[in-house]
Amino acid sequence: MTTAVRKTQDAAREATVAKLGQIPTGDRIRGLAFKLLVLTSAILGVAGLLALIIQSGVVGAERLNLDLFTQGPSSLAEEGGFLAGILGTLFVIGGVLVTAVPLGIGAAIYLEEFAKKENWFNRLIELNIQNLAAVPSIVFGILGLGLIVRGPIGLGGVAFAGSLTLALLVLPTVILASREALRAVPTSIREGAMALGATRWQAVRHQVLPSAVPGMATGSILALSRAIGETAPLLLVGAAVFVTANPDNPFEGAYTVLPVQIYNYVARPQEEFQVLAAAGIIVLLIVLIVMNSGAIWLRNRFATRW
């Protein structure tokens, strides 16, 4: 190598090394600003929830005891508890579980595994499901009142009527989540099963569904926790703002649910009821957080990594 060539190379190397130490100031500021911006979005999103938890915790702490779960409804704040609401919520959500989940999973299996996508009928169903997911919940309440409480089904204002109404409300969510879970199973699994001489149903039943179950369960739990928090449609289909006794079963008698009871207590002028409502909010939030964490745990624990 000649000296001239070596000199040129050394110069080039020095120039490169010198540049390595310099980060352009403009880039650094822009990067920092963007990071702060997205961090603020994240904090603001959670801040509202955090404020609610803290505020309810501070206000409701004194009533957060076992009486809350064992006391029935009362017009005296000191004696009142959420037992009626908790029982009502269990009845209503139990009803949603046994109706919306199997129906939603069934619909998802049909649409994802069996329906021919180019068929106009299937496309119509698909379009409707997506639209249903965007319908305000109060509209489902009106539908429930006309169809389930009074109309052709005529169950009356019982807990199961509330279940059916909420089932309609969360059905699109269950369907969409279940379809997502089915879509996550690679086509190669279906082809592999069917290349062995399995029918489509056998392939779905034995190979696709087992892998999709964790995702379906996660989606269903999230849908149920949405149903637990719903208030407006239940007010329309008969969840009483104030009940005098605990409901016996889902098919007869007046009932109320946790959020409706909270709504009732909050609306009262006495300070004691505000405290009771705050304690109820904590209970509701704990239930929701437990359910949603359970859903996430299920997904992480049992989901197949393809």
């Binding site: 592999g192 062995l196 001489g197 399995a198 087992p210 990594r305």
Partner: protein
């Protein structure tokens, strides 16, 4: 070499009488060498490739005297109305390894998927023309695609074990098909045929996803064999595997061809030369507007012929590495 040939003849009594029909007994004079080939593959000429071939080659006359398994005539396959392959005519013979080679997009995978009606699973795919399987129209109205697939197994490009135990992977096929017999024995036999039994016999309950890629692919072959198919279709079965796993699967194919007919799609010409008896060469054609690429079959012949003395210049350019 000589010992090997004698052994092969002993194990293949039906294939020895080649000389009788006037064809040369063994056109290349050798069954091939098991060990020294792989490292030199990249440099090998087509002739050298065929010499490396580990398959005991049969003469063309002998193969053509076998039963026709698939009679493919005037087949055209389209996706969304656009032809992927067209004008396909050829016969695939029973108890033969048939390789489909050609560049990407030439339609060889599309065609092999027609042979067990896997294309039916793609809603936009349409198959025209006629494919006879042992004389019966596979696409006839009275034919159930599920029944077709019970007899014609398939191994895919990417190993696709089910996310279950090794045992359950194998047992699924026999269960749905309703194979008679003791399931443990069926599973053991399938794994033995796929040369996997010794590696997995102590971990049958473990999830198949814990196996190496090569083991997974042999599991998929075992899974396909468990239902005792007449034909095994293999769509680029080694493209995701390392050379050692590839070699194992090629050995396996040569062992299996006594019992099962094999059709293999491969990008790897060396592989076609090593294992197949017959080779079909496909090429891509552009239409007038140069918008659509359609695959056509260019040449179909005995493998030696395709690699040493192809009658079509396109074939020659492809196998000698001038195009593709």
């Amino acid at each position: 070499m000589a010992d090997e040939r004698i052994r092969d003849q002993k194990t293949q009594p039906g294939l020895v009488s080649n000389g009788a029909d006037g064809a040369p007994d063994d056109p290349l004079g050798s069954g091939g060498d098991q060990d020294d080939g792989k490292a030199e593959e990249a440099l090998a000429s087509p002739q050298r490739l065929v010499e490396q071939s580990r398959a005991e080659k049969q003469s063309i006359g002998e193969i053509r005297s076998r039963d026709v398994m698939f009679a493919i005539s005037d087949v055209k396959v389209s996706y969304n109305g656009v032809a992927a392959v067209r004008d396909i005519h050829f016969d695939i013979y029973d108890k033969t390894i048939t390789a489909l080679i050609g560049p990407s997009g030439c339609g060889k995978s599309t065609l092999i998927r027609c042979l067990n009606r896997t294309n039916d699973l793609i809603p936009t795919a349409a198959v025209e023309g006629e494919i006879l399987y042992h004389g019966q129209n596979m696409y006839g109205d009275e034919i159930d695609a599920v029944e077709v697939r019970k007899r014609i197994g398939m191994v895919f490009q990417k190993p696709n074990p089910f996310p279950k135990s090794i045992y359950d992977n194998i047992a699924f096929g026999p269960r749905v098909v309703g194979t008679q017999g003791d399931m443990d024995e069926i599973v053991e036999r399938a794994l033995t045929r796929a040369a996997l039994w010794d590696e997995v016999k102590d971990r049958m309950k473990e999830n198949a996803f814990g196996m190496s890629g090569g083991q997974q692919q042999r599991l998929c072959i075992a899974r396909a064999l468990a239902t005792d198919p007449d034909v095994l279709l293999m769509d680029e079965p080694c493209s995701a595997l390392d050379p050692i796993s590839t070699g194992r699967i090629e050995d396996l194919m040569l062992e299996l061809r006594e019992e099962v007919s094999i059709v293999i799609v491969t990008h790897n010409m060396q592989q076609a030369a090593r294992v197949s008896d017959m080779t079909a060469f496909f090429m891509v054609e552009l239409d007038e507007g140069e918008k659509h690429r359609t695959g056509r079959m260019v040449e179909y012949d005995q493998t030696e012929q395709i690699f040493t003395n192809p009658s079509n210049s396109q074939t020659e350019e492809y196998v000698t590495g001038k195009v593709g």
